[in-house]
Symmetry: C2
Amino acid sequence: MTSDEIRSAIFHMGEQARAASRVLTTLSANQKNEILLAMADAVLAREKEILEANALDMAAAVEVGLSSAMQDRLRLDPQRVAAMAQGIREVADLHDPVGEVLREWTRPNGIRLQKKRTPIGVIGIIFESRPNVTADAAVLCFKTGNATILRGGKEAIHSNRAIAAALQEGGATKGLPENSIQLIPFTDRESVRYLCEMDKYLDVLIPRGGAGLIETVVSMARMPVIKHYDGICHVYVDRSADLDMAVSIVVNSKVQKPSVCNALETLLVDRQIAETFIPRVAEALTEKNVELRGDEIFRSLAGVDTKPAEESDWRTEYLDYILSVKSVDGVGEAIDHINHYGSHHTDTIVASDSTTAERFLLEVDSACVFWNASTRFADGGEFGFGAEIGISTDKLHARGPMGLEELCSYKYLIYGDGQLRGVSYEPPCTP
Amino acid sequence: MTSDEIRSAIFHMGEQARAASRVLTTLSANQKNEILLAMADAVLAREKEILEANALDMAAAVEVGLSSAMQDRLRLDPQRVAAMAQGIREVADLHDPVGEVLREWTRPNGIRLQKKRTPIGVIGIIFESRPNVTADAAVLCFKTGNATILRGGKEAIHSNRAIAAALQEGGATKGLPENSIQLIPFTDRESVRYLCEMDKYLDVLIPRGGAGLIETVVSMARMPVIKHYDGICHVYVDRSADLDMAVSIVVNSKVQKPSVCNALETLLVDRQIAETFIPRVAEALTEKNVELRGDEIFRSLAGVDTKPAEESDWRTEYLDYILSVKSVDGVGEAIDHINHYGSHHTDTIVASDSTTAERFLLEVDSACVFWNASTRFADGGEFGFGAEIGISTDKLHARGPMGLEELCSYKYLIYGDGQLRGVSYEPPCTP
């Protein structure tokens, strides 16, 4: 395809998605849920087609020598297809936030105002190798009345096409509006560029993938982008901590699932308890096969094998059995370190002194700040949100676990009986 | 200044603003209000310096031949300085949304969660000729605990410097943290580019000015941008309307203050009432010296002097005594026209049939949708928000009148007593 052909195909999809979003606004929660259940049925019914398509992607992956981790992300099997269908059913069961009245009030002139939750409109999702994102993302966006344009990685194109077809055709049997869910059917890289330029039709772009993908989208996009950057998560163990609790929170935060964004990456230890705490925590972590990279004080007290931490370690999301450790002079230095080196994702203080803990909660500039609990709870499911589309490291619109409510916008509905504006007041929108 | 010098100056201001934002997080509402009152006092006390600085800008404006409208926007006098100080006092009186608990709940494992309102962090404001924006924007951002970097137009640079100095030095007497409010002291155009690149330090950019400025910022910015685009506002008069009410709402929406973004620009008339309504509304508008540009049906029934409307009229924000008028085949066509040609700002239906009105309220995709009231009420003051920084035409984070709450972010504070994550659940942040 030429660049012009790609552009024109993408913009045509945008126009169609905008039209679909108008129809989606009018669907009731029940209608949407029936459609979702039909989508889940279709995914199960088409297991064979989906697995055959996935086999094509897997064969290509072997041919180009994709890493085994990448191959594992790409692979579908009957269990994974069943989990995909089950995930859709669970979304159908969730409360529909669209139409909720967020606030309602009446002005002295008798005008009644409602601030009401609405769909956003059209959402673009750009993602990498995991084909299940096709279903997860499309279904969450549909539940909230949004049209979606999906752009998956080229490694998963056959799987993505088969899953999208199941959602579209399954949904259509129960009235899914045409073009509500569109997958870009080709894999040319330029499609990302044209999506980023299409602010006329896309209300928001959500890149789901590594820092490289997010960077690319941020630098090109004309519309809002919701970013899910790294989780460089910290645990700070204060002088007032219960040290048994501290050891267990550190170990759980690090090793319960090291490959995810809410896993611990840097441990900060109050120097006042360094002598007692460091040997204990170092032993516990070493037992779990965690490689330790520490500052001088940590290394001198650890009593186990450690490596020196470099400046770059404080900025690294290992996603592995590696932990950097630094001693700090109390909660103030801990806060400064976290705000400087962290990724504003998730951080924990272990402390029994409430003044210290409240200071940490107030001053650490992160989406999720914990007192005496594992960082691993920073998660939409654990928060009780049901499904999540990711954990936002942005501060606007969505911060932290991003569930159905964060896939919504709002508008003001204003009810009058002929009110006219009588006094002169100048809104600042006209400079 | 060389481009490198400008870049380095802007990034230095960014670093300082980030440091200031850390301190701002710790101020109480009372401390902030005392600082605001000291700022208001300083603006009044420095009236002479501010007017002298403004005289320099006015002299330059005459020299370069700025239009009289532009000169009027630029001009300060004792009344305008007093109004600026009064505006600051009114912001001090507003409720401080920072620290509000938006939601609080406990999970089955005993973890307690709070979703709490916080400052955003560092806000960049790029504005054009009106120097009072320096005070208005800085003060709203400060009230909500945000640091600001202001970049005003070069025509107002002397006035802006004098006002910023009053805010900074007045605030400092009551403990305004250093660098909380910074004005870029030079006017090189490249400063806009470097602000747009500085996502490391700026959490959001708010351009306050015409479509050209917003376009420039949108195309360059790496951080979220909150846009206040045009208001192409509609009134649709349905067959079920009370026609007296309809005439008065149309006239008020158009002429009560035509130069602002919530003024009416296009009138849509249900064909079923065209014969009775059009002559009446045309006469009333003509009496108010409104130029009318209409479709065939309107022109044939108006009974007064009209011009033909072109396609481009449906996309034009006149901000003047001009109105385009189109006849439509009921509420469905009205909704389609508004969603296609409008700017998603503010639209009104005049109707007595509630099914028709509810459909309009649901399907019109605009920030403010009115039933039986003037479009001129789309305004933070009229909504009861106190001051507003503008009317957002975005759908993410802030939509419609943008007051103090929309200058805030939120974070999750999570209180545990040693909880560990035991079950395996995979957050989708790791693709």
